[in-house]
Amino acid sequence: MEIPVMVGAGLVVIGVGIGIGKIGGSAMEAIARQPESYGKIQTAMLIAAALIEGIGFAALFAV
């Protein structure tokens, strides 16, 4: 394990964290505005979060 690789993976994970955080935050705002479309928003949120999460895992496994 080399240090640059680990730092790079850490940077990717920071990005992934910010991304998923933004998705979660936006979903909460959207649900607060339109509580009746809770189900649809949650599904869309989970799909987007899962797709971003994949990138994070790819980075972690590159280490």
Binding site: G39, T43, L46, I47, A50, L51, E53, G54, F57, F61
Partner: protein, 384 residues
């Protein structure tokens, strides 16, 4: 005034006591941190690391727990499993011949040895030859062994078969009303139908995909939950298992793909452009779309594998920390963390099963899409 003073005095005392307690705690933690020789600690760390790596891998015997006796002998509690090899003819023998990877097994004059959880053909002494990159150069026979993971898959399959077969029968005899454990599973089945399959695939075609979606959901969920029990299996954290599941989704998507699905890939712009304008765009677009066919199931397999693997590593590491700290402060702390992570893992077990089913349904929805369906959607948007 007096009340104010006494209050002030009390809160001040409180603060002092808190500061003292924290200092004492920190002192104790630092003290216990340095207790015990460094050499012993290093030994233990590498042992725990080895233990975790062993847990993550599939193994040839179903050992529930192992310990070392005072005389330094390794004892295992569990059962050996059959090993099936194809090496110029079928070789079937019990994994107890390996003595947990410690000895060479002799079968019909051939010698086999386990090295890093893989079986290699060796000579009588069990020598393993390495190439320049320290990879073994020995012959690797085709391995169809019933390993721990395979046993767990078979058990889950049988469990699901008898559970849902019984449920179906109870519906028939009970006038279409769920009975017993069916009252727990009925809402889940209905959820998959009404909130996963129908919205993503469409009302006309969802029935075709329902058996697969239900099977894959319960299969992943049950195996994830089994991974959290003391059985110590890690089936969904095995990349071969998730790869097979993703392969099934891939095959189903592409073999049930309609004309419009393939048109989406090879002619995404349709009639909205003259052919000569499409050419420069399609040089980029079509390779991306074709890659997308493979990337979709690949992301499925990586997601499930990585999530379960990471969960197991975190959980095992926290449990290992208890033995590294060996103190009245460190160990309960890591126990609490391990407990909290276990609760999160129960959620993750369900969530990953849901995500896999959800995304599979989404991909089936792309495959089952017909032109009429797309027009319907456009109509909806205009209507809104």
């Amino acid at each position: 005034m007096q009340r104010f003073l006494s209050h002030y005095y009390l809160s001040d005392m409180h603060r002092k006591i808190t500061v003292k307690t924290i200092t004492l705690l920190l002192f104790l933690v630092s003290f216990t941190g340095f207790a015990g020789g460094d050499a012993e600690k290093g030994d233990q760390k590498s042992e725990i690391k080895e233990y975790i790596q062993h847990h993550l891998k599939d193994s040839y015997d179903f050992s529930l727990l192992s310990y070392t006796t005072d005389s330094g002998e390794h004892k295992y509690i569990g059962a050996p499993l059959p090993i099936i090899l194809w090496d110029n003819g079928l070789k079937v023998f019990s994994s107890s011949k390996f003595h947990h990877g410690e000895t060479v097994a002799e079968v019909d004059g051939n010698f086999y040895k386990q090295y890093h959880s893989k079986i290699y053909k060796t000579d009588a002494e069990g020598t393993i030859n390495y190439d320049a990159d320290h990879h073994p150069t020995n012959v690797k026979p085709l391995d169809f062994s019933i390993t721990k993971g395979v046993v767990m898959i078979l058990i889950t399959g049988l469990l699901m078969f008898f559970l849902f077969r019984g449920l179906a029968r109870s519906y028939a005899t009970n006038g279409g009303i769920a009975k017993g454990v069916g009252r727990f599973f009925e809402p889940i089945v209905l959820y998959i139908r009404d909130d996963i399959a129908v919205p993503n695939i469409g009302k006309e075609k969802y029935m075709k995909y329902m058996p697969y979606l239900l099977t894959v959901f319960f299969f992943i969920w049950f195996l994830n939950i089994f991974g959290l029990t003391p059985l110590g299996v890690n089936v969904t954290g095995n990349i071969a298992v998730t790869a097979c599941l993703a392969l099934l989704t891939f095959l189903l998507t592409n073999f049930t793909g309609t004309k419009d699905y393939w048109k989406h890939i090879f002619d995404p712009l349709g009639d909205s452009m003259p052919w000569y304008a499409k050419i420069p765009l399609y040089i980029i677009l079509i390779p991306i779309e074709v890659l997308g066919i493979f990337i979709k199931p690949f992301s499925l397999l990586i997601r499930l594998y990585a999530n379960m693997q990471a969960g197991h590593i975190v959980l095992m590491s926290l449990i290992g920390l208890m033995f590294i700290f060996k103190s009245w402060i460190g160990s309960p702390m890591s126990f609490g963390l391990a407990f909290a992570i276990s609760l999160i893992e129960i959620l993750v077990a369900l969530l990953q099963a849901y995500i896999f089913t959800m995304l599979s349904a989404l991909y089936f929805g792309f495959a089952a899409e017909t032109h009429d369906h797309a027009e319907e959607h456009e109509g909806e948007i205009q209507h809104l």
